[in-house]
């Protein structure tokens, strides 16, 4: 396990995913494409928490699914520990799956209602033929449950998902990921379906795991407010691209991109005395079939000017750790 902490661990280069919009007809060979992810390059370090933030339709979930190998990238490459894992056959990917696990948004939907907790958590062990004996597998299941904060574990083993609360279900999903001892967890909106009072405990759990088990976490969310606590770095996505990336403090305290600023301003603040000016963007993320020319954010941007309609701003360096793509940034 002793590997340099800042070594490149997971890396994507120019990753793209286009879906066909509608069916191909005989007479229209050029069908439109949905540009779900449109050139994303980022790196994840060992036991680092990277938050991927953006509105629905920005491609953050598709990006997560590509990292998991559940969607085939249209273009670009993914490296894991220096190895190209962009296109792998099922049997080649199987070992990799142990190392990269996923936690889904909806704990009500992501558990099979006919399986008990024990069956759910031991299933990955059977799939990967882990454990010499039933006893060893049982021990692993118990440990995963306890690490996920479901104690005492044996009181949960025989329960079905409908007998658990939302927070407990999400812990079961996390336990089913932990049982394979992964090195990366891709968590896709793991708390947005949960009550506020339960969100904190799931976030705390992920934060503890990255310390106790050295797990790197990619935390996908639409709510910048929920990542402030444990993310090391934040990447803000808009319409298939990363528009700003930096350490948590870079992004929270010195946001450069107008989109990041707007996202920060609408985080609800639980104090009426701190009512503040909110930048509420008009409309919603445009249809990723027809990407606006120039800067893709300009139709909703409160500070857009003429040049924004024409040129697509490149990623510009703010500091060693902080980059953003906006024409207004000082050169």
């Amino acid at each position: 396990m002793k590997k340099p902490a800042n070594a490149k661990f997971l890396e994507t280069r120019g990753l793209k995913k286009y879906f066909d919009a509608g069916k191909r007809w005989i007479f229209s060979p050029n069908i439109k494409k949905v540009h779900a992810v449109d050139g994303v390059s980022l790196t994840l370090r060992r036991s680092e928490v990277l938050a991927l933030v953006g509105e629905s339709g920005c491609g953050k979930t598709t990006l997560g699914l590509m990292l998991m190998g559940l969607e085939e990238p249209t273009d670009g490459t993914i490296f894991f520990e220096g190895r190209d894992i962009t296109h792998l056959a099922d049997h080649e990917r199987k070992d990799l799956r142990r190392k990269i696990q996923m936690v889904f948004q909806d704990p009500y939907e992501s558990l099979n209602p006919t399986q008990t907790v024990k069956e759910i958590i031991s299933e990955p062990l059977h799939v990967h033929n882990i454990g010499e004996s039933q006893q060893e597998r049982d021990e692993r299941v118990i440990k995963a449950l306890e690490d996920a904060g479901l104690k005492p574990a044996d009181t949960y083993l025989t329960r079905f998902p409908h007998e658990l609360s939302g927070g407990q279900r999400q812990r079961v999903v996390i336990a089913a990921a932990l049982v394979l001892e992964p090195e990366i967890i891709v968590a896709d909106e793991p708390v947005s379906m949960l009550d506020v009072s339960i969100r904190a405990e799931v976030i705390n759990l992920l934060a503890e795991l990255r310390i106790s088990r050295q797990i790197a976490v990619i935390f996908i969310t639409h709510d910048l407010g929920s990542v402030g606590f444990f993310a090391d770095r934040v990447a803000v996505m808009y319409l298939g691209r990363i528009v700003e990336i930096g350490t948590m403090l870079d992004v929270l305290e010195r946001p450069q991109h107008p989109y990041t600023k707007a996202l920060l301003s609408v985080i609800p603040v639980p104090n009426p005395r701190l009512r503040h000016e909110r930048i509420i963007l008009k409309g919603e993320t445009p249809n990723p079939v027809e990407i606006p020319p120039g800067c893709r954010f300009h139709p909703r941007c409160p500070v857009a000017f003429d040049a924004c309609r024409l040129s697509d701003p490149p990623m510009t360096t703010v500091s060693k750790t902080h980059q953003a793509a906006c024409l207004l940034m000082p050169k």
Partner: protein, 641 residues
């Protein structure tokens, strides 16, 4: 690998799946009646030689005098055209009919099940091929085809079973395919792929268990269809002559003059057999479907039942209070279980133009409370105490007609989950028009489109989108459309039940801004239900925090956020991410909210409370009123000002 998986599933469970199923099935009266009727038929068929008074197909004594004898002591159901005992033939006929039914159904279900699973799960060319095949089979009329095939082959029992079985799989294949598609798209299948599970594993461990219930229901229906088909074949003379079924009894009786000599028993008896078995299977199928089909297991919103102990009282509310809820208690009554005390002794008042935030975790009774205001509680929910006054009139004492005049036109509600609340096959404009006309039938028809456009404009949707269907709307637009519907009749009070929960932060901010604008523009009074204290801080006037069905704290917005007195409110605020202090560990409230049918003895928050002391375990705290109309349901607030 499969075998090891199987062995692990025999791991000790509290109760087997069958026990759970049986407990639910027992409650279905139709299903039980069907099961008993079928059991009788199977019993008769199995023990036919013991029950029948004569030997099978043995003519007792063939003579003209024995033909079509009416019921007598020797032949309790008379004799048939060959002088045989009708009762004996009836009993042995059950064997043939049931045998054909079960075996033919097995073949259809087997073929249909596999085709449906393969087509639904693998998709692509397999699906195209199998579904086209199904379509072709469905177009060909079954019965003539069956007749032709049976007529061409030797009409033996085996042939009949095969032909009926092989022609009867189409419905099963279609039903199973659509269920497989539905299961396949669920997130737990994606999660299984993420774990690294292969297709076979996913098919057998995740898809099949959820398709099985539907297969069982289909099987029961297939049996009855096969029995009917066999009877038809036999009736037109294509049955196996060595195995007389009920259909053949009918055929012989009909063809050999039973009608002309008035021997009704020769026709009625086999007919009764067919009806009995088919009816039993249909009832059983219905009962099974109720228990097994998850889609039918929903509780619908129904008008409430007559209430316990409510009487209209003359009320004198303060002048500008528009909605006044006094000491309301709502219980869910479940047979054989203690009632779930979903709401207990909650009071609130809403002033004109105010925005009241109703905050609590899921299951705290906040939605129940709101549904009760409009008398929309599910059938099991009853208002057991308290009153709701709308402009001084008691809503709880009104009958369904009276409340209909208030519901939606005076007090309307924006439901959570806009996608499910809109009808997917009608345009949004159409649905808004319906909301206008339903509560105001006198509204001039030609003005409706104008009004729809006006409402859409009010919520920020271009009227060009009026002709679009809900699926063409984005999540935020759907929620706006729901708001437009709620405003259709110019209500005074709008209840917004978690209107922003499933939406992105930016869209959430847009919707909140819209509600606040509408409130100012139209003078609406709004109750905003949410689990998120942060959302309401920016626009509420007063906040009611509920916990486990009771009021935890009820006060002006500034008091709630800056001087909370109830430990629950304090903990909720601490659990909130504070971006001014990043990297601080989030505090979370340990434990889970109480189950409403199993509440702790004293204070409902005591098991999770950081400030709990002895008294909390025994005595439920009252609601203490502090200065500035600040209500706190905690022992610690007693005596403080």
């Amino acid at each position: 690998m499969q075998t090891t998986l199987q062995s692990s599933t025999t791991f000790s469970r509290p109760e087997s799946g069958f026990t759970v199923f049986w407990r639910a099935f027992r409650k279905s009266r139709t299903g039980l009646v069907g099961l008993i009727m079928l059991a009788i038929a199977i019993f008769v068929a199995l023990f036919a030689p013991a029950i029948a008074p004569y030997e099978n197909a043995a003519a007792t004594s063939v003579g003209i005098a024995d033909i079509y004898q009416p019921p007598s002591a020797a032949h309790i159901l008379g004799t048939d055209d060959a002088g045989q005992d009708v009762f004996t033939n009836f009993i042995f006929g059950a064997r043939v009919s049931l045998t054909v039914g079960f075996f033919a159904a097995f073949i259809s279900i087997f073929i249909g099940g596999i085709f449906g699973l393969v087509a639904g799960f693998f998709g692509g060319r397999w699906e195209t091929f199998l579904m086209r095949l199904t379509d072709v089979m469905l177009v060909i009329p079954d019965l003539p085809l069956t007749v032709v095939i049976v007529a061409l082959t030797k009409p033996s029992l085996m042939n009949i079973i095969f032909v009926i079985g092989i022609l009867g799989w189409t419905t099963t294949a279609r039903v199973v395919r659509s269920q497989t598609l539905a299961v396949k798209s669920r997130k737990f299948v994606l999660r299984a792929r993420a774990i690294g599970a292969g297709r076979l594993h996913i098919l057998t461990r995740h898809v099949l268990p959820l398709v099985m219930p539907i297969l069982v229901v289909q099987a029961v229906l297939a049996i009855s269809l096969a029995i009917l088909n066999e009877s038809t074949l036999s009736f037109i003379g294509l049955g196996d002559p060595t195995a007389p079924s009920w259909g053949q009894m009918l055929n012989f009786a009909f063809g050999r003059g039973a009608m002309s000599v008035g021997a009704w028993w020769a026709l009625v008896v086999p007919g009764f057999g067919i009806v009995w078995v088919v009816l039993s299977l249909t009832l059983l199928g219905q009962g099974l479907e109720q228990v097994l089909n998850p889609r039918l297991d929903t509780h619908h919103l129904m008008p409430g039942r007559p209430k316990v102990g409510t009487e209209a009282q003359a009320a004198h509310p303060a002048r500008d209070i528009i909605l006044d809820v006094r000491n309301i208690s709502i219980h869910y009554i479940n047979e054989g279980k203690p009632p779930a005390r979903a709401v207990e002794n909650v009071s609130l008042s809403l002033r004109e133009g105010d925005l009241l935030g109703l905050v609590g975790e899921s299951g705290c009774g906040k939605t129940t409370l709101m549904l009760s205001l409009l008398n929309l509680l599910p059938a099991a929910g009853q208002v057991v105490n308290g009153n709701v006054y709308y402009k001084g009139r008691d809503l709880t004492a009104m009958n369904e007609d009276e409340i209909n005049n208030i519901r939606w036109s005076r007090i309307s509600i924006i439901f959570q989950g806009a996608m499910n609340a809109l009808n997917p096959v009608r345009t949004v404009g159409d649905q808004i028009a319906e909301a206008i006309l339903k509560h105001n039938p006198a509204f001039p028809k030609n003005k409706v489109p104008e009004r729809v456009a006006e409402l859409l404009d009010l919520v920020g949707i271009a009227s060009a989108h009026s002709d679009h269907f809900p699926h063409q709307y984005s999540g935020g637009m759907r929620q706006r459309a729901m708001i437009a519907m709620a405003l259709a009749c110019n209500p005074d009070v709008v209840i917004a039940d978690e209107p922003t929960t499933a939406l992105d932060v930016m869209i959430q901010a847009q919707i909140l801004e819209l509600l606040d604008e509408l409130r100012k523009k139209l003078g609406l009074s709004v109750i905003f239900v949410t689990h998120d204290l942060g959302v309401v801080a920016e626009l509420c006037d007063r906040v009611l925090v509920m916990y486990g069905g009771v009021t935890a704290e009820y006060a002006g917005v500034d008091t709630i956020y800056n001087e909370p007195k109830h430990p629950y409110t304090q903990e909720l605020l601490k659990a909130f991410p504070d971006l001014t202090k990043p990297k601080k560990k989030l505090s979370s409230i340990p434990g889970y909210p109480p189950r409403l049918d199993d509440l702790p003895a004293g204070c409902r928050f005591a098991p999770r409370c950081p400030a709990v002391f002895d008294r909390c375990q025994m005595e439920e705290p009252g609601l203490h009123v502090l200065k500035n109309d600040h209500h706190v349901g905690c022992h610690l607030a007693e005596g403080s000002k």
